[in-house]
Symmetry: C2
Subunit: 319 residues, 2 copies
């Protein structure tokens, strides 16, 4: 499954804003059209956004000039800028724009496939895995990271069961459940607040999550709620794995204290699918991410392997 | 504020199923009417249900016979049976039924007032308190327990700030926010999964929760998510307080392993206010409660005082 494709004439992507209730594909044939789809979160997840933007460059009359329309669609998504810059570089080197975008897509796919395969080695037959947010093909364009590892293990014939955190406020658990249903992976959705109790009942063998950014010392920024899961897993001696491609490891950031945590619109908490839940006058705090200290992380998984400590991740990149 | 009242002719109660959007009172003049309101959760919270049932007895032609209609409305609510049996006892002793119900209401109110006052001694000027679920007057008829302590501290002039867990799946945070708005207590609603991160950021000075049942050894059953909060609070050295009247302390249950945890309809997770959130075919696990081990609880608060260990609670009852 791919979240983004190129038909030869159009960028074709699954409209994530219609999921999980409707599987609806849209086709875009302009730079502005792709940029708007990114802005409106019809395509979500840094790697998937990157692939969409790379193909968006196909429609540019003046690539150097129009690159910024795409790059500014979601200014904080690092993969977006990397993808567009990669296409520009290849163009300068004389490559065809469609080939350049296809190469970016292929590199991304290979990377995510390896993260998934490496992660799957950590899953044993019969195990129950807890995951948080959405880290599947919808977010990564192909395979995914944590969810990619889970689905890979299932395809390898391991009998597994998945617990899916609903992941308030944006309820990405719904699209994770949608991906698992597509692949026939047995799972239950749970409220975020019941993960701890399931761990205590010996219902969880490991926790697998993705990462938005990993600092030099291993502190990891990821979807709000990840930190709590790491503390609860530690309390119950349950392995806690972070799965992400090397592009999410940022040696330029010393530790978690230097990662700025985005606060988002309180309406994401106060409303659900546009329906107001809280009384008029109520306010909410809405942190999009939290920071999990490196000491709570059992292992990091990237395209190069499984690493039991952040030092080993860095050593490996220097080999 | 009272959640349940007797007008002289009718049981008058605030319709909790309409909150937090509409403050709507209903009047009931039959045993069956009160029983149905309890069944349909128009009145919620064990003590509030008890008061409603006590007054429901006023309409019985044959109290001994009709008592069961009320008692069976929510078979697991211990206070409900206690309240009805109390009225029956008083009738046998020659008391008027309205007086008997009013006495139950008064006893309940005094008990909750003391729990709230005792709990308020744990809150210092300037502190930020995290609470979970709804433990205010709506649940307790008058004052409340954990939320009662918080509102009492506010009324004593202490400048406090409250963080309110939204408490999925039933989102009781919305009615807690409604109570705090009524009393002008500054607060923010948060997603349950962000409580841990707020603790890590030094934004929480104490956690205050109620209890459904407390075992002889201090293990405490309370709304799902309470156990996780207790682990996170311990990790960050934040005091974790359980507030409940003595009637919730059950010396007949040895420890938490003997408390049966109710699993409720998965639709409470899969739907929000009747709107389906998850794809067709998805299933959910929905535990209503969890068990917090006594070792994670800094102190118990009941109508007799603040107790730093469960042994002191029991010693006090024997004095």
């Amino acid at each position: 499954m791919k979240a983004v494709d190129f038909t030869g004439e159009a960028v074709r992507l699954i409209d994530q804003s219609a999921l999980p209730h409707k599987e609806q594909w849209i086709e875009l044939k302009t730079v502005e059209g792709v940029a708007t789809a990114i802005k409106e979160m019809k395509v979500r997840g840094a790697p998937a956004i990157g692939v969409a933007a790379a193909y968006g460059m196909v429609f540019a009359q003046d690539p150097e000039k129009e690159a910024d329309i795409l790059k500014s669609a979601r200014p904080t998504a690092v993969d977006l800028a990397h993808a567009v810059d990669f296409v520009l570089d290849m163009l300068r080197n004389g490559m065809n724009v469609i080939q350049a975008a296809a190469q970016w897509e292929k590199m991304n796919e290979e990377k995510c496939k390896k993260v998934s395969e490496n992660g799957a080695t950590l899953i044993k037959d019969g195990q129950k895995i807890l995951t948080h947010c959405n880290t599947g093909f919808l977010a990564a364009d192909a395979y995914g990271t944590a969810l990619g590892a889970i689905i890979t293990a299932h395809k390898q014939g391991k009998k597994i069961h998945v617990y899916v955190d609903e992941t308030r406020p944006r309820l990405q658990g719904a699209i994770t459940s949608w991906e698992l249903l597509k692949e026939n992976v047995p799972h239950h959705v749970i409220c975020d607040s019941s993960a701890g109790f399931l761990m205590k009942k010996d219902e969880i063998d490991s926790v697998m999550v993705g990462a938005d950014r990993i600092a030099a010392n291993g502190d990891t920024a990821n979807k709000i709620g990840t930190y709590s899961l790491s503390v609860l897993a530690k309390e119950q001696w349950i392995p806690f794995y972070v799965l992400a491609p090397l592009s999410s490891f940022d040696a330029g950031i010393q530790n978690g204290e230097h990662i700025k945590v985005e606060e988002r619109d309180e309406r994401e908490v106060l409303e659900i699918n546009g329906m107001r839940i809280y009384p008029e006058g109520a306010h909410a705090k809405n942190f999009a991410f939290d920071i999990t200290p490196a000491r709570n992380i059992t292992a990091f998984v990237n395209e190069n392997g499984v690493f039991r400590g952040i030092e080993d991740v860095w050593k490996n990149t220097m080999e």
